[in-house]
Amino acid sequence: MNTLVYLIPLFPVIGFLILGLGRKSLSKTLTIFLGCGTIFTSFIISVVLFLNVKNHGAMDVHSLFTFIQSGTLKIDFAFQVDQLSSLFLLIITGVGFLIHLYSSAYMHEENAEHFARYFAYLNLFIFSMLLLVLGANYVIMFIGWEGVGLCSYLLIGYWFKNDNYNYAAKKAFIMNRIGDLGFLLAVFWLVNKLGTVSYSEVFATAHQLSTFDVTAITMLLFVGAMGKSAQIPLYTWLPDAMAGPTPVSALIHAATMVTAGIYMIARSNVLYNMSEFTMHVVAIIGLATALFSATIAIKQNDIKKVLAYSTVSQLGYMFLGLGVGAYTGAVFHVMTHAFFKALLFLAAGSVIHALHHEQDIRNMGGLKKKLPITHLTFLLGCIAISGIPPLSGFFSKDEILAAAYAHNPIYWVLAVVGAAMTAFYMFRLYATTFLGTYRGNSEQASHINESPKSMTIPLIVLAILSVVGGLVGVPEILGGNHQLHHFLSSVLVSEKTHHMPHNTEWMLMGISVTIAVIAILFAVNKFSKKPELNDAEGLGKILSNKWYVDELYDKFIVHPLNNIAVFFKNVIEKSGIDAAVNGVGKFVLYGSRQIRLIQTGQVGTYILLMVLAFVLMVLIWINDGYIYRFITNLF
């Protein structure tokens, strides 16, 4: 089994190297074969490992080699497969493979060289994410952590001729870097206080940390998670990241990257359990993000932007779950979200593909008949994300909501409001896109065809998963025994176990489902006939402009920084330091020009000076050296 662990990230990286180096000579078929094949192999191995872990428990930590050693600090390049990471392995490689498969058709218009480059990036992306999940210490996790940041940069800016896309790519990378700094500082803190970064040692010795240390470390790690998982205030990169090809969005939003923050906190649950304060912050930020981005999603008209804000919002729910101690619930939601969000994005991609890169939902409508498979799968995704039983989203969301209620009923109320908004904007999207009549011109309409098989098969697989995926976590109250909870219980230890009366639990479920259904009916009713085609006004305008957060950041962070930079460059550097340095030179030149005047060229003057100096010396030396002593005493 040990060698198998190495193979999981090895295959994607081999795929990356072959595709990257041979991109000029590989045919598209070969590229598809290599790109998808490597990930599929990793997926098979992941399944084997998962079954192994399921039957025999967590595997030992496998150290490949010593990565860094300095003094007593020793960081191994080590992998760890336990319940949590094996679950993530399945999600990453499984969903990743489906997205690869889908891409092979979606990106087919690209020429062979760029096609191979695209798959090379995708493979690197999967590799980084696998590294992140497999790492047995925080440094290896950080390698993957930055790696996915890099890959998102490369993929968002995949069409590098477009400056806006490049800008979005850069923004993603830099925002991630802000979070990464927090992560790094947390790692340094661990190195400094505990002298180790490996999970097992950190968790074993965590009790030595003072409360302040734990709070600081967990908060800093959370800053990292904010960047990577797009939470307030570092979320603005994710919607802009839509610049990349649609499958990439699916990959970023579902299988990789944004779930990294959840994984990291779940992984560090021992530390988080020790800090009440951080838990509160995580819950509040999560909830705020969930609500805030849901409001924005309501007024977006770009099919991908709606989904992007929906991701931010769903991630908020996951953080809420983490914050209230429902680690399993959060991980569960990561899983179900991976299914239905990948599904939604790929289905949206299918729509965009069919409409030749039209993304504005105001120009769509009535696609139900033209794209039957896409329509059906998209609808299932919408129902799943809205939390309607018995689809997967219901179970995972319900678990988070129940935990939130147990923690603080106000959290629950707000979360249900968010859930209602989720149902509303998802069905607004659905109704505007698929119901009503087609609003593009008739010439376009005749060209609309259902996507090829390699695109619809992933859709169907993901739709099935979205429907049944929740069954691994059916709570006891509904007659299940929550297999996922038992599976993860050895890794995820929550100190907050909550037992609610069954009546309360039934009531909570009932209310949230009812509200969601009402929101769905309202949205379908409202938008299937009369979609919003005009630009919004009033509050709607603020929402469609995303609360002007980007503008605020520009004004209060980017702008001042730019001004400081210009000030440094033009004033301090040029007129300050450099002028001072040059000034010394100029002063010497000036001084020597003045002193030169003494050298008149008249012998008489020289002699006079000489005599005067001589007389002066004599005067100083007489009186028993009195004047001499006087002068030397002066200095």
Partner: protein, 467 residues
């Protein structure tokens, strides 16, 4: 034996190169000599025999020609030895007037730098320190850009002032040695100075090294010189020569005046950290590639200097590793700058764009080097920066946090540069651009391979400096 071969080969190489009339032959000769030096330098890594060497030099003053080769010296000599063949190969197409003099001086500069890393006698150290400076002066002032005379003069005076201060410090220390006085580094280590004397010696020598590194606010010679100097010289200056300053702090400053170094650590670290942010912010606003790389280099050096003065083992190790890695990376960046300038005749971002379409190989290689410049994990720079920040964190949490902002700023300016040169649509200048020639490809590939190999498996370097 091996240690003085490291000096002799380039020295006689320089002498022979001066007298070769044929330009191509001169360049080829220089290349062969530098490869020979590289081979010797690689040998030293595996050599088990005693590598130190000593013979009387100026016996009247008690100065010996003594060389010492420990792990750190070996690593820096290797850096010095690697850099020259790469540089010569990468500028194969460039022609210089009086090429034999140019390459001869380059080799002579290599001798000087090598000597600085090898010398274990203070007077010898000073001698090589100046020997490295003088060829640099001639190279910049003869083959440099338009404003070369003025800029090089400033460079020379600036660093020379520092050198003289250092000389005063050395002479002072020399006079404190017992008996017949000696310049040997061991005797210098044994001097026990009182607090006030330590502070004076520290000030004298620190200014010299701070100018050489350079750290804020002694850095203003650097962007100008890098901008005006011929690119091969700039590569040596920023890739290898600035490491002299850091090396000198590690070997000649902190062990000799430990108390004063500890007492001033706070001051130096604040200066360095401020300099990092300052240089990073200025780099963001540059429109000239050379100046951007120069300021980026100042920021990186600032981190190294801060890490060294933390006096933590982890920070020191990080700085030492980073000396090597930064040298490799920055040479890579300069090569790209040179390629672009030679081909398109400009270094301004505002006049460039879309080069990735025309020169994809260059774009990929450059992106890897740029990622190393922002210390992405699995590139070589990450290891050093990780250790250095750890050390800085151990010293003071806030320092690490503030310095950490430069990680973000580094991403901003580096990605800006990548975007403006390579991405977007082509502009008039880049319309007819072509990809790089085989020799540049070879050199950049070597650099990229080094970046990735040392990024994934940095233990050889860490073991080397541990010796």
């Amino acid at each position: 034996m091996l240690s003085y071969l490291l000096l002799l080969i380039p020295f006689f190489g320089a002498l022979t190169t001066f007298f070769i009339q044929n330009e191509k032959l001169a360049k080829r000769n220089a290349l062969l000599i530098s490869i020979a030096t590289l081979i010797i330098s690689i040998f030293t890594l595996f050599s088990k025999v005693e590598l130190s060497f000593s013979t009387p030099w100026i016996s009247a003053l008690g100065s010996n020609f003594s060389l010492q080769l420990d792990g750190l010296s070996k690593m820096l000599c290797l850096l010095n030895a690697i850099s020259l063949p790469l540089i010569i190969l990468s500028v194969k197409e460039n022609t210089y007037q009086k090429a034999s003099n140019f390459w001869g001086l380059m080799l002579l500069m290599q001798v000087g730098i090598m000597g600085v890393f090898l010398a274990s006698d203070a007077l010898l150290f000073y001698f090589f320190w100046e020997l490295a400076l003088i060829p640099a002066y001639f190279l910049c002032s003869i083959w440099g850009g338009e404003k070369r005379i003025q800029v090089t003069f400033k460079f020379f005076i600036y660093t020379f002032v520092g050198s003289l201060l250092m000389l005063i410090g050395i002479i002072y220390l020399y006079l404190q040695t017992p008996g017949n006085h000696s310049f040997s580094i061991q005797d210098f280590y044994n001097i026990k100075l009182a607090g006030k004397e330590q502070a004076t010696v520290f000030a004298l020598m620190f200014i010299a090294f701070a100018i050489k590194m350079p750290i804020f606010p002694f850095h203003t010679w650097q962007p100008d010189t890098y901008e005006q100097g011929p690119t091969p010289v700039t590569m040596v200056l920023s890739g290898v020569m600035v490491k002299m300053g850091i090396y000198a702090v590690i070997r000649w400053l902190i062990p000799i005046v430990p108390d004063a170094s500890a007492a001033h650590a706070n001051f130096v670290i604040i200066l360095s950290v401020f300099g990092m942010l300052y240089a990073s912010l200025i780099a963001i606003k540059q429109d000239d590639m050379k100046r951007l790389v120069a300021y980026s280099s100042i920021a990186h050096i600032g981190l190294m200097s801060a890490a060294i003065f933390t006096s933590t083992q982890i920070g020191m190790n990080g700085a030492m590793v980073q000396m090597f890695n930064h040298g490799i990376n920055v040479i890579g960046l300069w090569i790209v700058v040179d390629v672009i300038e030679k081909q398109l005749g400009t270094r301004k971002f505002s006049e460039l764009g879309g080069l990735a379409q025309k020169a994809p190989t260059l774009a990929i290689l450059f992106v890897v080097i740029a990622l190393a410049n922002i210390a992405l994990p699995l590139t070589n720079a990450f290891v050093g920066e990780f250790l250095m920040f750890s050390g800085l964190f151990e010293f003071n949490i806030w320092m690490a946090a503030v310095a950490g902002v430069s990680i973000i700023l580094a991403a901003v300016y580096t990605l800006n540069m990548v975007q403006k040169i390579f991405y977007g649509n082509t502009v008039i200048l880049t319309e007819n651009a072509i990809d790089i020639s085989w020799n540049v490809k070879l050199v950049l590939t070597i650099i990229v391979v080094l970046i990735i190999v040392l990024g994934i498996y940095p233990m050889p370097l860490l073991n080397l400096i541990g010796q």
